[in-house]
Assembly symmetry: C2
Homo-oligomer: 604 residues x 2
């Protein structure tokens, strides 16, 4: 296997040599800056075997390097073995970015301009400086990658807002058009797949775990044009109905590739129009077409307003989300009950079996449309990889001691879930208990936060870390990410991170709360709930916000060191577990409800 990747890289090096390129930079993303690309664009994986969700590859004549963040350090080291590819760690204080690294090592850098956004290519161009050259070679790997997958064409469905929440596409378009008028924008190009799905109330399955349709959307005051692979006449009836519905709503459906011609044609000297694009998701290759036809003064580059609008869930979406988290929590409880009783009874359960069982329990929920990401089912030291990928073959057995971590979520017509529970399977070491308790304290402290309107997630991130920090422990990932509504499990613009992000948390935003602690070779812990940012009233000191925890699944108290927990935290925990019991027990079989009663008895 190792040789295969080294061979592929060498083949690419030959192309480099014959073209006079000093370096090739291969993106881990797709033409829409998606976090998870469809197989066609998993070029980094094809070249070096790394399966992590974030990673870019740089190949020069004498070096090959993978840039990825702390979630994937351990995994990358293991997967890159023998490929000759070295790990470059990102998001560390002394990290060197790809552009900086390239600056003194290459003059001519080739990229697949389809898979890099404008901002990224500008960074590389700036870093190369005068005399540097970025060569755009769309579908660069095409000649090497013989069985490269096609652009996926999968069933498409439309969402009925009366049943599934949210607001109609016509209302959304009318909001966007008002924004365009205010901003003096004649045409607006949406390039991010989740923005397009949200805008049109369409969902597909072109990308695993992400209910998206690979497409572009061009909106003007009098026309909406959707560039997408059209279904054949033999497609499933729901897909055909969906396209009909869109066309009845005056959405013009055009071919996916037609976007290039549309953007070349659209501007004229007689009647110049302004075009808005978001350089953070517009790909470099398409941008070069835009630049050829739109003079700079007619181009508006900025952050798409859809991102913020989409992050603020509507009342009907929130109502649905509450119920979806209850249903999802009931499946989780069935799973946790099954796991505990099976392992206690001496059956040998693997991480993979557990993961499959959890998926099958979720699949019973009405409206289930798949998982929202690949289940992380990790026992013992495996959980020290925050994004462990459970192998189908040869995954570890879950033993009746230590900690098992399960991070999973569902896609439902009524929302997206994401939950992590760390489960004490039996006897735990004192260090495990300490880590378990400190991480939990952080999650609780953040859950209890109240903060003035205008506060950004980065201003309260330290709450979730301080219990760990006081013990000189820390975790390398963010504390919270936004979550879509039957959309991507990661979305912006808000986050709860150590890094600066000025976006205030707004009422209606849904964010994860997931501190963790990872000890390589020992154990990994993460406690993750989804929280809704809500109005918490006003006082003479201003307007206040707080969090409502949407996730509804008990937190195991058996690994808690009670002496480390203060009264306020304990009260929160006991009241949360009691709430979980009261909410879920009517939905569970009698024997599981009885088990849950025991699991949720107040601590201390």
């Amino acid at each position: 296997m190792d040789n295969l990747f080294a061979e592929r890289i060498n083949a690419l090096r030959q192309i480099m040599e014959s073209n006079g390129w000093d370096a090739v930079v291969v993106s881990g993303s797709d033409p829409h800056s998606s976090e998870y690309p469809a197989p066609r664009w998993q070029q980094v994986r094809w070249l070096c075997g790394f399966t992590g969700e974030a990673g870019d590859l740089v190949i020069t004549r004498d070096h090959a390097g993978l840039w990825t963040d702390s979630r994937y350090f351990i995994q990358a080291l293991s997967q890159l073995e023998g490929t000759g590819v070295e790990l470059h760690k990102t998001r560390l204080p002394d990290s060197i970015s790809i552009p900086s690294w390239l600056s003194d090592k290459a003059r001519t850098v080739a990229v697949d301009g389809l898979c890099w956004n404008v901002a990224a290519i500008e960074e590389i161009t700036d870093a190369l400086g005068e005399g540097g050259l970025v060569v755009d070679v769309p579908d660069m790997l095409q000649t090497l990658w013989e069985d490269r997958p096609m652009i996926p064409v999968t069933p498409v469905t439309t969402l009925d807002v009366d049943t599934f929440g949210g607001i109609s596409r016509q209302e959304k378009l009318s909001w966007l058009r008002k924004w365009m008028l205010l901003e003096d924008v004649d045409r607006m190009l949406l390039t991010s797949l989740d923005e397009i799905a949200w805008m049109l109330n369409v969902r597909g399955s072109d990308i695993d775990y992400n209910p998206l349709v690979i497409s572009y959307l061009l909106v003007s005051q009098d026309e909406v044009r959707w560039f997408v692979k059209k279904p054949s006449a033999f497609a499933d009836p729901d897909t055909l109905d969906s396209f009909n519905e869109l066309e009845m709503d005056d959405i013009i459906v055009d071919d996916y590739d037609a976007v290039f011609f549309a953007l070349s044609d659209f501007s004229g000297e007689d009647n110049p129009v302004t075009l808005f694009v978001d350089p953070s998701t517009l790909n470099h290759h398409l941008y070069s077409y835009v630049q050829d036809s739109y003079p700079p003064e007619m181009l508006r580059c900025g952050t798409s307003p859809v991102i913020l609008q989409k992050s603020i869930k509507t009342i009907s979406e929130i109502d649905n989300l509450r119920q979806t988290h209850i249903d999802d929590g009931a499946a989780m409880e069935r799973f946790l009950y099954w796991l505990e009783t099976e392992v206690a009874s001496g059956r040998e359960i693997t991480e993979w079996e557990a993961s499959e069982m959890l998926t099958s329990l979720r699949a019973e929920i009405p409206g289930y449309r798949g998982n929202s990401f690949e289940n992380i089912s990790a026992y013992g030291a495996n959980a020290a990889l925050p994004h462990y990928s459970t192998p189908e073959e040869g995954s570890s057995f879950i033993k009746p001691s230590g900690l098992y971590l399960v991070d999973s979520g569902g896609q439902y017509l009524t929302g997206t879930t994401d939950i992590t529970r760390t489960v004490p399977m039996g006897e735990c070491t004192n260090l495990q208990k300490e880590d378990y308790t400190l991480v939990l304290k952080g999650m609780i402290d953040l859950s209890m936060a109240v903060f003035p309107k205008g506060t950004a997630g980065c201003q309260i991130d330290a709450l979730a870390r301080m219990p760990l920090w006081k013990a000189k422990r820390n975790f390398g990932h963010g504390t919270g990410h936004g979550i879509g509504y039957y959309l991507c499990v990661h979305e912006g613009p808000q986050s709860i991170r150590y890094q600066y992000n000025p976006q205030p948390l707004l009422p209606g935003m849904v964010t994860s709360n997931e501190p963790g602690l990872y000890r390589e070779g020992m154990h990994g812990i993460r406690h993750e709930n989804i929280v809704l940012c809500k109005e918490a009233g006003s006082s003479e000191f201003g307007d206040w916000l707080d969090f409502e925890t949407l996730t509804c699944c008990h937190i195991d108290t058996s690994a808690i060191l009670p002496e480390l927990v203060d009264k306020e935290e304990l009260d929160w925990l006991n009241s949360y577990n009691e709430h979980v019991f009261r909410t879920l027990s009517p939905l569970l079989p009698e024997h599981i409800a009885q088990w849950l009663r025991i699991k949720t008895l107040p601590l201390k």
Copy 2:
């Protein structure tokens, strides 16, 4: 009195009219962007009577407005009464800055370019846009202000680093010159008074509470030129000695105003040199000279490196600071004992008397050189003004109930102190106790923080606010400011604030920790200690920092609601008070030590 200010503003309006100016913007600062200007530059005060430490005035033909922040809202409203000047609140979410406000109200704006820094004038110029004009009229008020004070000339002293800590001016100059070489800077102009005092190890008393000498400093590789009002031959011996010492150290002393000619002359076509200036403290008027003689490519504008270097106290400075805070704390304890016994015995003490008593106790400390700011001695509702100015005549009596707030500090040859204690004088209402306890919890929570290297103050500010936030209460000022070493009581670059400031807290930085709570017409509470940022060791998760509390003065436990305090906070408080008792009791008379023993008995 009111009429006087209205008359002055009207006189200025006549000048405006005859010159065709639409607006005059009057700065609350001096030619060095000092926070506290000498009387000569208290132009805002002279024009409208406002005595707050931060405030700028805008006068148009039909409007006069004072821009100031929440510390001064109540005071400004009271002082501006009858002047016709309206209050414009700054640092609020919907605050409109002076440049934005002016943008659609004026085309021609006159300023005293000496008292505005480059950055501020650039903002105004940008806001006015095309067709707008900023007219620089140095000493604009000269003709109206008949008895305007002169530029002060006060005694100057040099600091012996062996006795008073820090490092020698030669070492500092050599550090700066190395920095200049690295940054390709031939000449460096220092314009901020505390940077100059730090650089040369000189102190003066040109500005109340700030041991500064009004001057500029120009450093090149082969020359150091100090532009300052020279002492007459009849000046005090220490001043004359100080100037001699500087000249023996090859510091060329030149006249204060000669800086204009020096910067006009210095650059030549034959031998072009680069000049570094910091636009945040360089005044607009001097900058216009610089711009006339230095072509843009020879000008380096940026943040002076002295600011960061100065903020990191040396080991000898830190040793001295610890002792200085002990001495200062002993004076505070004498004061608090005196206050409690006097008031309890029925004597009628005014805020002013208390303030004077406190100053006289500090004055007994060897090395005392004055207060570091005007004592805030405020009883009851007066304390609701975070920067209450205690009047000499007619200040309130301190009664044996409710809360008395005293915020004060000393300038010593061995450091600067700043401490606030809120003193329960007897019976307190439940609301007073709640506020007292919640503010204290915030101060303690921040004191106990441990955080990874690289963390900025704004990332941990929420710790000091969360106990208040949870009760939907808040305070409008920052939580912590840097403090100079026998220098300004406020210094950068670090801060602990709600607002973004990316400067990481570094070992050796000294910062205040001072949450508060203010209820207009009722009471004001602030608990303030000075904390030193220190290395706290390393772990597999990185390098850690924490705080050592330097302030040494007990915290009164009588107004604490123990049920609101968690165990960790209680332990911190009891251990702090015990530390204060053990440290100070040997320095206090027996009866005060006995009193302090009672005051510091552990709570609960």
